[in-house]
Symmetry: C2
Subunit: 303 residues, 2 copies
């Protein structure tokens, strides 16, 4: 019997897209989240990442092959005044996945880490092997999870890989995202005025490229590294993003003040040569194509 891929965070931006991509490949999936249905009505198994008995009950009901662990508080802006929840959901939640993988001898665990684990970076291009200096407990929770993942591999041979995803945008993203703001304003005929960002760099990653990186990690023969960075391959300012949005939606009226995003890290360009070489990852979405896909999705939902 073909066993299941467990996808955590199945109601979220990345988890939902991973689940749909796996099902489109004809693979058996069990997707969990806190709720019983996705926004689109797909069924989920309601299971908290910290509910240990229930996790093992899921593993008993759906024999597991591997895990793609997307479930987490998904950014430094979430639970900002409750860092302990960040520890429980993100770090203990990952430890619970590592234990599932160890106890049930799963083939592989793919963990959605984040470029927030880097925090303050050295000059770019930034390879994976630098000292991590995260600036938020969110970033710290990803760095801490990676330390556990690394040592479960070293001590117990759990075949776990971490992919540090940069800022994910595209169809399905409904939480804080400057691209979504620009698109929604343009579609509604409103101007976009931001008090920061004209000269602030961000490395956007289209959700479908994030999914591609995770699926490559799921199926790769064991690669030489345990931790890879995935970005969309671009390094642009939010001001430049505004220009791309105007090419996609000529009615957009966008103006940004200079300065960094007050709740985001200042990152140099990340080096994605390792994931390209070892996992065959190449971002497929240039920014204009990606923003058009996001604008189409937002327009369809609004219509």
């Amino acid at each position: 019997m073909e066993r299941h891929i467990l996808v955590t965070g199945g109601a979220g931006l990345i988890g939902n897209a991973v689940r749909c991509a796996l099902e489109a490949q004809g693979r058996k999936v069990v997707a969990i989240d806190l709720v019983e249905r996705t926004r689109e009505g797909l069924p989920l198994v309601a299971c908290d990442l910290t509910d240990i008995h229930r996790l093992h009950a899921v593993a008993a009901e759906y024999p597991l092959d591997a895990v793609i662990h997307c479930g987490a508080h998904s950014g430094p802006m979430v639970a900002r005044d409750n860092p302990y929840s960040m520890v429980q959901v993100n770090v203990v939640g990952t430890a619970n996945m590592l234990e599932l993988a160890r106890i049930h001898q799963l083939r592989r665990l793919v963990f959605c880490s984040s470029t927030s684990a880097y925090g303050d970076t050295p000059e770019g291009p930034v390879p994976e092997d630098v000292v991590l200096r995260p600036t938020s407990v969110y970033g710290g929770s990803k760095a801490a999870s990676e330390a556990l993942l690394w040592t479960y591999w070293r001590q117990f041979g759990v075949d776990a890989l971490a992919i540090r995803l940069s800022w994910v945008y595209g169809p399905g993203r409904t939480t804080d995202c400057v691209i979504r703001t620009m698109i929604e304003d343009a579609l509604a005929g409103r101007p976009t005025r931001l008090p920061f960002g004209q000269d602030f760099h961000r490395q956007f990653l289209h959700v479908e490229d994030a999914v591609a990186a995770l699926l490559l990690a799921l199926d790769a023969t064991p690669p030489p590294r345990r931790i890879y960075t995935a970005t969309g391959g671009t390094y642009v300012t939010l001001g430049e993003i505004g220009e791309v949005v105007k090419r996609v939606l000529p009615q957009a009226d966008i103006a940004l003040a200079p300065g960094p995003d007050p709740v985001d890290e200042v990152h140099r360009r990340f080096d994605i040569s390792a994931i390209s070489r070892d996992l065959g990852y190449t971002p497929r979405f240039d920014l204009e194509t990606g923003i058009r896909s996001y604008a189409d999705w937002i327009a369809a939902r609004a219509g």
Copy 2:
């Protein structure tokens, strides 16, 4: 009213010594551990590091100034087949201390990290700022705790310092320790034969030097770093240790085979110039003095 220093792991090697050193300075201490008395009969508050309500009850009963957090599974040989317990006690236990420090606005938190957080090191002398590659979940739990500590400082200003202690020996150590084995064998007139270690380096740290480093960290004006390494300043093989034991106890009959300790990391010499410069730490115990103090303690207990 002078507030208390909370010492965790008060029944353990380091916590007990820290508590006694603080009390010898005339300071108010509340020491917690799983048990109600130390081996020597000193009272402890029985409190599990993961029992959140009880931790806050302790903080309510003994208004706190600062924490020295020694409580943990104390090495890769502990709970070796139960990594989740390592996560709960060591990582969540440290997160609980960070929350106490954040919520009660404590002056400082000093965390006993470990050189096990380094795992495989580059060539020495090894500074603090290298990529951590721990080889055990124990080392991973220390690296993960440091990541949380670092970000509680960055995001919430919790004044937390981590001291990476190397292998601690000396009076009070009753768990696995090759020096204790050599001393006990010599005192009992038994030969010591070890299947490894003649050429295996270890960086021993006398417990009183470990205490000194932690107390310096407790009281220093906020230093430029958050993470420091403390060793005894030596870098010797277990074979050389055997020679020192023979100088202290001429009746000792010690022979070691070559090769590394199968459950310890292979470490290069750690650079302790940062803790020396910033905290004024200098190891006071040379190996012969330290081993003599340990032998005296073991002989007194046996007598």
